[in-house]
Symmetry: C2
Subunit: 350 residues, 2 copies
DNA sequence: CTGAAAGCGCTAACAT
DNA sequence: ATGTTAGCGCTTTCAG
């Protein structure tokens, strides 16, 4: 047999270096290596240099698992969310991540399945007591929030629960209700007799915030309150929800629970031969990136999801470390962005 | 001082129960509890029942960290991806998750920052040797893939590297090149003299697959090859990239690197007074959910990202457990979906 | 400044 | 069928 061993047997370590290997090679105690890594406790410059050199040499990387197990500093958060392809959740997530990363936290994400139970949620935590953020805009998120063990340090971005008198101090939300009311009043001000509403799925058993705001405004103005239409999250669901009404000339203004629904609604209306905004005004919710480029461009409520996500992390940070965490950053209130999809009611004198 | 202690001192465990607590209360050894939990080794039905009861009582939940540290079965994957708000990445992620969850793996996600370096990627792994999937459609993803330590078991969804003779067996991809060529030939067949292209950012230093496919088709047909336009990922970037050309009547067909770009392109064209598809045909890439509902609805290349994600996990699974992992599922090839945004060239006799 | 010892919660290998 | 013994890789004590 030829001697080829020394080529492939190039001293490849079977398993990556541990803190002990570094200590051994550097000729110091394992504890000293730990000190160098964490910058805690005083170590002579010389020793530190040597240790760092060996770390480089061996390609040593600390094992997070072990560190956490041993009760090291937390510095990590898990975000529980469902369906990252929805704009609101994705944008909130971005805000959370940015803030967490900036504060030196590493962030992991775990996606909730629609059918996930209580047991399942607990299962996702690496260890009891891990820090968690929840994006609870839909049913799965709300359930996850509810089934989180009470001892875990957490903060959540939620749809505000209607009538919550003493809101959980570890939750943040946008004032969807006021925003929906504002958008509705805007449409009424254009001369529309009433406004129809296509709802996104509710995260609560009660009326969702956006639906309530819409109803608030209609009631306050003494206008007829149509039955809300039930959409999902997708353009397709908006299309299907509105198709039965699309041709009805008495329907002149539709508010949608999100921009994707609005897209489907506009298509259903066009297919029914109606012109937007001439015959029908459509207003969305979210101001997602495509909204400004649609045809017609979409009047919509801009929501500061990223800011909300940053604030949510701010809350968590203060909870974990009340002494040193900076103040929770503010976020923007919802704002109506008027574009091409809304106009005075047909036949109105505006 | 009044005696209120027994009210608040309600025996609340300061820290959650460990396997030892269960063992102690159940009057068995800690190992027996482990056996019950994992269903390994024989335990008498009686003992098992008692242990389970105590587990329930104490609300005991195993600590994943400790389990992993101790070398327990892996059953967990981390997905590295950048920007989950892009349709392609989000859909791939969904496929990966579904497949992994189905196979009994828990999946965590870590989002790559655009500027993340080599060191940073290694940092995200909980322990050396953790199983990883990478979604490498953009620069950050490709860099992460490259800087992954060679010993980690991984699989990746990638844009195919041009000219890769021996493709990595742990990678999956869609044939973007052929799909782009097909879409381009389709436009030429409608009588367009040539086709312009708005590119998404490249993940490689070489020409991206979609750009190549487009060029392939043009060259094969002996048509002029315009300089590709460089877009980003957003509708806005498509809008900005095309605006300079939008009014040019010699531009009658534009292929876009994704649907969002196409949205921006269509708007730029309309603002320049051009009618779609009468004056200008626009074709997208991805067939994202909104595509069918746009005005006009978008002709686009449907890409099976979810299937690709499932296949990617299949690959990883076989790598981790060649004996028992099922065959890697197939995924669909790209398919051109013709809708309203494309039509015969103006003045053509088709 | 540095080292030794104990233990985080769990599983795998040996006992019995 | 169950218990005992080692670690996994790290961070806290506590001693020098």
């Amino acid at each position: 047999m030829e001697v080829t061993g020394h080529i492939s047997g190039e001293d490849v370590p079977r398993r990556s270096a541990s803190i002990w290997d570094v200590a051994r090679v550097a000729g110091v105690s394992q504890q000293t290596v730990s000190r160098v890594i964490n910058g805690k406790g005083r170590v002579s410059a010389e020793t530190r240099a040597k240790v760092l050199r060996v770390i480089e040499e061996l390609g040593y990387r600390p094992n997070k698992l072990a560190r956490m197990l041993a009760g090291g500093p937390v510095r990590s958060v898990t975000v529980l969310t469902s369906d990252t392809s929805l704009y609101g959740a994705a944008a909130t997530l971005r805000g959370m991540e940015e803030a967490a990363r900036t504060a030196g936290f590493s962030v992991g994400i775990s996606v909730l399945e629609p059918g996930s139970g209580q047991r399942d949620v607990a299962e996702r935590l690496n260890r009891p007591g891990e820090a968690v953020m929840v994006i609870a805009y839909d049913d799965a998120g709300v359930r996850a929030l509810a089934s989180l063990p009470p001892d875990v340090p957490m903060a959540a971005a939620v749809e505000r629960r209607p009538g919550a008198e003493a809101p959980d101090p570890w939750q943040v939300w946008l004032d969807d209700r006021a925003a929906a009311a504002h958008a509705t009043r805007y449409l009424l001000s254009l001369g529309h007799r009433t406004v129809h509403y296509v709802a996104i799925p509710s995260s609560t058993s009660d009326l969702p915030q956006r639906t309530q705001g819409w109803a608030d405004a209609l009631r306050a103005a003494g206008r007829p309150l149509p039955e809300p239409l039930h959409g999902g999250w997708s353009p397709r669901s908006g299309y299907l929800a509105v198709r039965p009404l699309a041709a009805d000339p008495s329907v002149t203004a539709i508010l949608c629970g999100n921009d994707d629904l609005a897209l489907g609604v506009m298509r259903a209306a066009r297919e029914a031969g109606r012109h937007i905004p001439g015959d029908l005004s459509v207003v969305g919710f979210d101001d997602s990136p495509p909204a400004a480029y649609l045809n017609p461009s979409l009047t919509t409520v801009r929501l500061d999801f990223e800011g909300l996500g940053r604030a949510c992390f701010g809350l968590l940070h203060r909870r974990l470390d009340p002494q040193n965490a900076p103040a929770v950053p503010a976020w923007s209130e919802p704002e109506l962005i008027v574009r091409e999809s809304s106009a005075p009611a047909p036949g109105s004198t505006f």
